[in-house]
Structure formats: structure tokens, C-alpha cells
């Protein structure tokens, strides 16, 4: 039985190669049929004429902050921010308090998502207990209860022996380890990327080596163990070279890039903006260009936001004391569409691909991420021509730590459909 019709939109689904004006019939939460012809039924009809209709976006890297820091974000507010940005599935990063490192924690996320979330929450678990980098978690039990990936994001596993065992062990469950690559001895309290700008500002720099050497390490470990390593928020040209070479020799390595690393540079720190303080730090124009090329040539598998909400109290401090991170869910698509697609650096197909099929492939979330018949009806409708100013309307996230406030961007998310239900339409939630 059909319950929702999205008619006459430009249906763009990179996974199936579809890009035409069509109508989608939805029932029982899944896509029943996609057709070029117009249907006249009694069900709820959304007129998508003039809009882009694509699979809902999937974010591998969302800090929902619950449990522990509900003053920054909750599962309720974080998933609203996701829906407002066109994301229908978000992976909850487990660096909460307590850390999600056991079945109990995982069940908390899943049950809280059932009551509070307006998009799909995909639980991740930590690699080591308490993210202490010492004992690996119960991968088998956690996978059984729904963990789709494992990460010690924010507290990277520095001990190479432990990382080796984690990759070797996780390989038997076919789940990726998502690694925040940072050699903590090299980054050593740095605030921003080491280079001309940090030298001018007198801010302690983080050398690009702090990331790239760990990427090279992980590539070799993945090759040796047969495990799947996914490099989070890649930010340097050298890291891309390591991944490109590893992929060429068949290593199970994937990677993501954030909207901010793809569009901003360390020059955003010139006014000591704490909103632009992020880890890994924003790189040089050379790094940004290398990331954009790697996105275009497929070396980068997907875009992930690293949505990292922080309160004004924490960000209104001297830059050395302010925490790393920026929010990203609500600006990801418009930012990339405006700065990369409209400028001709990548195609719209490629951008949508990296927000849908790309991330789904990394954590095996298929058939999410496509608009084929039988797939879950997670759909986003976008008005590509609509321009807006970031921050003119309040964020749905509990936090507002974005360096993009005041920027004019194109591509407004009109409607977000999750499991066949309209959860957000014209900034109003169901």
C-alpha cells in the first residue's frame, strides 16, 4: 500500500545511475516504485517539481554527545540537525561519557534513538575499553547488538601492537576500524596546522606528519592483518598519497574528508577564531586542493561531517583553552554544493555519491544510500537554487560553533524523509 508519493522531482541516485524527472512511490517505509509517469492516488503527495530528489545522506562521523554532554547536544537535537541538513542516517561517535564500549552502552544508544531520534542512528563502539588504548572491546558481542564500526576517535590508539590486534580481530566480523590518525607526540599540544600562518600568529603548530605517519602505519597494518581500516577526517596531501598507494596495492583502506577540510584553510585562524579550531587542523590551500582532487578521483570514499558541537562557554575562551571542533550537519551539503559543485571542481553526481553510496559502502549499510525499489525510503529533497545566509535562522543543533556563520550558501534542504515518513519539511519537524 502506497503511503507517500514524491512526484516530478529530478531523481538523482548515483548508485543506480538514475538522473531523470520521476515520481517515487513509497509504502511500508520502503521504495515501491520509481516511474516517469504521474500517478493519481489519494495518498500524501509531495510535489517535487524543480527540486533535486536524492537518497538521504549518511554521516559516518557525528558527535551526538549523549550520554554525558547533553549541554552540547543530545540524540534528539543532533538528529534534528541531521534531518535539517538532509542526513537520514548518522553514526554516533562513541567518545561519550561513559564511552560506548560495551553492550550496555550500545543498548542505551539504540533505545534512546528509538524514542528521541528523527533519523536513523547507527551505533559505533570504541576500539578499546574506555578509549584508554589498552584492552580491545568485545567486538563480537558489539557487532551482534548492532555496532557497525569501531573507533577511538579523539583518543587515537597510539600503541601499534594494540592497533594490530584490533585490526586482526575485527577482520573476522567484517567491520571497519575508523581511526583518527594523530601521533600525539608529534601534535604535542598544538593548536593549528604548523606553517606560515601558525608562525605568524605564534600559535603552536601541529605538523602534517602527525597525521600522515599514522595513516602510513594504518595502511601497513591493514595490509598485514587483512583488517579494514577507515581513515577519519583526512586532512593532508601526504596522507592522500599514502592512501592512494595503499589502495593501488589492494589494501582494505577507505577514508573520509570533512566539508571544512575540503573548503577552508588555516587562514581561517587569522582572527584567532575559536570556531575554526578543529582537529585535525585546517590545512594549507595545497592540502585542500589535494583533497578536492582525491574526492574527484575516488581516492576519498565519502564525506563525513565530524559534527562536533561545543557550547559558547567553551568556545568563548582564549584559543589555547577552547576545545577543538565545529558543527557541520546543517551546512555540509550547501557548503560543498556552493564551493565545489557550482565552481566546477566536482560534479553534483559525485557530491551526492560521496554523501550516500560512499559512506554506506564503508560500514555496509546498503541498501541504504540508494533509491532502488525495495530500499528504505530515506530521501532528501533539495532546492538547489535557493540561497541563504548561515546563521540567519537558528541552528537545530544545540550548539552554534560554526565558522561559516554569515556565509551565503546555495542549496537548501526542503524535505527529509526517513523510512517513508516526512520528518522535516521547510524547517518544520513532524
Amino acid at each position: 500500500m502506497t503511503s507517500l508519493i514524491v512526484k516530478n522531482g529530478r531523481v538523482l541516485d548515483p548508485a543506480s545511475g538514475l538522473d531523470e524527472v520521476a515520481t517515487i512511490l513509497i509504502g511500508d517505509g520502503v521504495i515501491k516504485r520509481i516511474s516517469g509517469s504521474r500517478e493519481s492516488l489519494r495518498e500524501q503527495i509531495i510535489d517535487a517539481t524543480g527540486l533535486l530528489v536524492c537518497p538521504g545522506f549518511i554521516d559516518l562521523h557525528t558527535h551526538l554527545r549523549e550520554p554525558g554532554r547533553e549541554d552540547k547536544e543530545t540524540i534528539a537535537t543532533g538528529t534534528r540537525a541531521a534531518a535539517a541538513g538532509g542526513f537520514t542516517s548518522v553514526c554516533a561517535i562513541p567518545n561519550t561519557n561513559p564511552v560506548i564500549d560495551s553492550q550496555t552502552g550500545l543498548r542505551f544508544i539504540i533505545s534512546r534513538a528509538e524514542t528521541d531520534a528523527c533519523v536513523n542512528v547507527v551505533p559505533l563502539a570504541s576500539v578499546t575499553r574506555g578509549q584508554c588504548g589498552e584492552e580491545i572491546v568485545e567486538f563480537g558481542d558489539l557487532v551482534y547488538y548492532g555496532a557497525k564500526g569501531f573507533t577511538d576517535d579523539g583518543h587515537p590508539v597510539m600503541n601499534t601492537e594494540i592497533m594490530r590486534r584490533a585490526l586482526e580481530y575485527s577482520a573476522m566480523f567484517d567491520v571497519p576500524i575508523l581511526d583518527h590518525c594523530e601521533d600525539l607526540l608529534l601534535s604535542d599540544g598544538g593548536i593549528m596546522r604548523e606553517g606560515f600562518v601558525s608562525t605568524k600568529l605564534g600559535l603552536k603548530g601541529i605538523p602534517p606528519l602527525a597525521e600522515s605517519m599514522q595513516v602510513a602505519r594504518d595502511a601497513d597494518l591493514a595490509e598485514y592483518t587483512g583488517g579494514h581500516v577507515h581513515i577519519m577526517h583526512i586532512s593532508t596531501a601526504q596522507s592522500i598519497e599514502h592512501i592512494r598507494r595503499a589502495k593501488a596495492r589492494g589494501v582494505r583502506i577507505t577514508c573520509e574528508a570533512t566539508p571544512h577540510h575540503l573548503t577552508l584553510t588555516d587562514e581561517a585562524l587569522y582572527n584567532f577564531s575559536t570556531a575554526a579550531k578543529v582537529n585535525p587542523p585546517l590545512g594549507t590551500a595545497n592540502d585542500r586542493d589535494a583533497l578536492v582532487s582525491a574526492l574527484a578521483d575516488g581516492t576519498i570514499n565519502c564525506i563525513a561531517t565530524d559534527h562536533a558541537p561545543h557550547t559558547d562557554i567553551e568556545k568563548d575562551q582564549p584559543i589555547c583553552d577552547a576545545p577543538f571542533g565545529m558543527i557541520g550537519l546543517e551546512t555540509a551539503f550547501p557548503l560543498l554544493y556552493t564551493r565545489l559543485v557550482l565552481t566546477g571542481h566536482i560534479s553534483l553526481q559525485s557530491l551526492v555519491d560521496k554523501l550516500t553510496r560512499g559512506p554506506a559502502g564503508v560500514i555496509h549499510l546498503e541498501p541504504r544510500g540508494t533509491l532502488t525499489e525495495g530500499a528504505p525510503a530515506d530521501i532528501v529533497l533539495i532546492n538547489l537554487d535557493k540561497e541563504f545566509t548561515v546563521g540567519a535562522e537558528p541552528f537545530f543543533s544545540k550548539s552554534a560553533n560554526s565558522p561559516l556563520i554569515g556565509e551565503k550558501l546555495c542549496g537548501r534542504i526542503e524535505t527529509t524523509i526517513v523510512g517513508g515518513k516526512v520528518v522535516m519539511h521547510n524547517r518544520v519537524f513532524a
Partner: protein, 321 residues
């Protein structure tokens, strides 16, 4: 040294650094400081220029000479001065920096003189509050009044900065003094040579037009001015150089090494000095050294800064005393 179109009013409300000042604005401060220095020779070393204004020294790092210098500069202009002691203040009770600053503002203070270990902190205050903010050193970023007093001293000794070769020797990487000097000197037409070990002299400064030297002999060759920086022991713990002994061997300025520079070279140091490390006893106390004059000039420069930031016209220093 006066250019044809000098500004008649100092347009800035804050002094956060020298990077964003023009050469004319820097000259305006130096000229004004020359007038202030004249006051020191009077019997009553005080003018009523800032009577009724209050200055708060807000220092989050230890400092003796800079804080004292600002205090005397304020007092010689008849401003009321309060020193905010961070160690015994509400900051120690966990109050945020902005709340502390808002409290001071609520007391109707006109100027905040701020030192903080983190770059950009005076900028944060300037952005959020109504008071005039003077940066008295923000981490390794800038120390504008030190840059001005160094420049003032060089100009005093040489007449003009244009074409001078100035060698800055030491830990450039962590030095706010070096950065403020680089901005002022390059704007005023001096050649800047940065000298020190490769770990402490970032190559990136070449993009600002500086020469980079790792040999003291090459770096100070033909120099008109040598500005020495204090070497901090904690850098050794980070392996940025192997030992004080080796630092002295490679970069210590001795009487013998002075001969590589110009015969009448001026030797400067922002203090506090490590005698026998970056500078030998005989050089520190010798005829080339102007270290004590720098201290005196520091007060004049800080008076000029307070005076100009208070919105004063480019009038001569008030005669009434």
C-alpha cells in the same frame, strides 16, 4: 623621517600588535614618545594628560619590567592604575576570562593592559568589550610596545631605520618580541636577519622578507644593531637545542664576536638577560649595550601609546606640569 602625508589623528582604539599598523602610524608613536621622554628630565615627571582615566594591568603571566613600566607610564600621565593580581583573584576560583574582563569594565576602567600566555587573547577582549585594550604580550604572537621601544631606541641611536641591518638572535620561534620587531622594522625599511638554531628559527619568516642564518658570524656580519633574545631553559627539555653550553658556544655574543658586526654596532636585549649565556658580561655592560636605555625608552613609548589611544590629537606633549 617625516613623510609628506602624516596622519594627524591616531585612528586606533586598541594596540593589539604592530602587524596592522602603517609605517606612518608607527612613526607617529615614536615621535610622540620622543616628546614624552623629555618629561623625564623635568623636576616633576608628571603631566595631567590622562587625569581621571583609569588603567588596569591585567597580567596572566609573571612580569616585572613590563607591568612596572606600564604602571609608571600611566602614573606619569596622571591616570589611576590598578594591578589585577591573577593568582589571588576570582580567576583562581574558576571565573572565565571574559567575566573577569566584564567585571573590570563595569568598574569603568578606560584601558586594559593585558598579558596572556595564549596568542589572540587581547583580541578576544577587544572584540567583546568597550575598553581600550593594549597588548602587553600574547604568547609568542606580539609584544607591540616592546617592538616600539626597540625601534625607538634604534632610531634614537641611528637617526633612521631605513637601510639598517638588524640581527635578531635567539629563540625566534617562541618570541613575541621578535615578531613585533620584524613587523616594525620591515615597515620602516630595515633589513632583518634572524639568527639561531634551525629548531628555533622557522623558515616561514623568509616569506616576511627576513634573512635566516644559523651561523652567528654570518647573521651579524655588518649589522648596525644586534637584538638578543632570552634563551629559555624549558626549550632545552623539548630538545630544541642540546644544552646551554652548546647554545653559548654557537650563539653567545662575546666581545670577540662583536667584531663581525659594524664597528659602532648597537647591542640590545629586552631582558631579563641570562648573563654568560646569550650575552657575555663584558658585552652586556660594555659601550655597545643600550639595555638600560631601552628600559627608560619603554616608559616613554608606553606613555605615547596611552596618550594616542585616548584619542589625543597629534599635538605636542602638554607643557603644563
Amino acid at each position: 623621517m617625516t613623510s609628506p602625508k602624516r596622519p594627524s589623528v591616531f585612528k586606533h582604539k586598541h594596540l593589539l600588535g604592530l602587524e596592522h599598523l602603517t609605517a606612518d602610524e608607527i612613526i607617529m608613536i615614536l615621535d610622540s614618545a620622543a616628546g614624552m621622554k623629555e618629561i623625564f628630565t623635568r623636576t616633576v615627571k608628571k603631566v595631567p594628560t590622562l587625569r581621571g582615566k583609569s588603567v588596569c594591568n591585567l597580567f596572566f603571566e609573571h612580569s616585572t619590567r613590563t607591568r612596572t613600566s606600564f604602571e609608571l607610564a600611566s602614573k606619569r600621565l596622571s591616570a589611576d592604575v590598578i594591578n589585577f593580581n591573577v593568582a589571588t583573584s576570582s580567576v583562581a576560583k574558576g571565573e572565565s576570562l571574559l567575566d573577569t574582563a566584564r567585571t573590570i569594565q563595569a568598574m569603568h576602567v578606560d584601558f586594559v593592559v593585558m598579558r596572556h600566555s595564549c596568542p589572540g587573547t587581547p583580541h578576544l577582549l577587544a572584540e567583546r568589550l568597550k575598553m581600550s585594550v593594549i597588548n602587553a604580550g600574547d604568547g609568542a604572537h606580539e609584544h607591540p610596545t616592546q617592538g616600539l621601544l626597540d625601534t625607538f631606541t634604534m632610531r634614537d641611536k641611528r637617526g633612521s631605520l631605513a637601510g639598517l641591518k638588524v640581527a635578531i638572535v635567539g629563540d625566534i620561534l617562541h618570541s613575541r618580541v621578535a615578531r613585533s620587531n620584524i613587523w616594525a622594522l620591515s615597515k620602516l625599511g630595515a633589513r632583518v636577519a634572524l639568527v639561531g638554531p634551525s629548531t628555533l628559527v622557522p623558515r616561514h619568516f623568509e616569506r616576511l622578507g627576513c634573512e635566516i642564518h644559523h651561523s652567528l658570524k654570518d647573521g651579524i656580519a655588518g649589522a648596525d644593531v644586534i637584538n638578543l633574545l632570552r634563551i629559555q631553559l624549558e626549550r632545552q627539555r623539548k630538545n630544541l637545542f642540546p644544552s646551554i653550553r652548546e647554545y653559548r658556544l654557537l650563539y653567545g655574543l662575546t666581545k670577540e664576536r662583536l667584531k663581525y658586526a659594524k664597528r659602532d654596532v648597537v647591542v640590545m636585549h629586552p631582558g631579563p638577560i641570562n648573563r654568560g649565556v646569550e650575552i657575555s658580561q663584558d658585552v652586556a655592560d660594555g659601550p655597545h649595550s643600550v639595555i638600560e636605555e631601552q628600559v627608560t625608552n619603554g616608559i616613554a613609548v608606553r606613555m605615547a601609546v596611552l596618550y594616542l589611544l585616548s584619542g589625543a590629537r597629534d599635538a605636542p606633549v602638554p607643557e603644563d606640569a
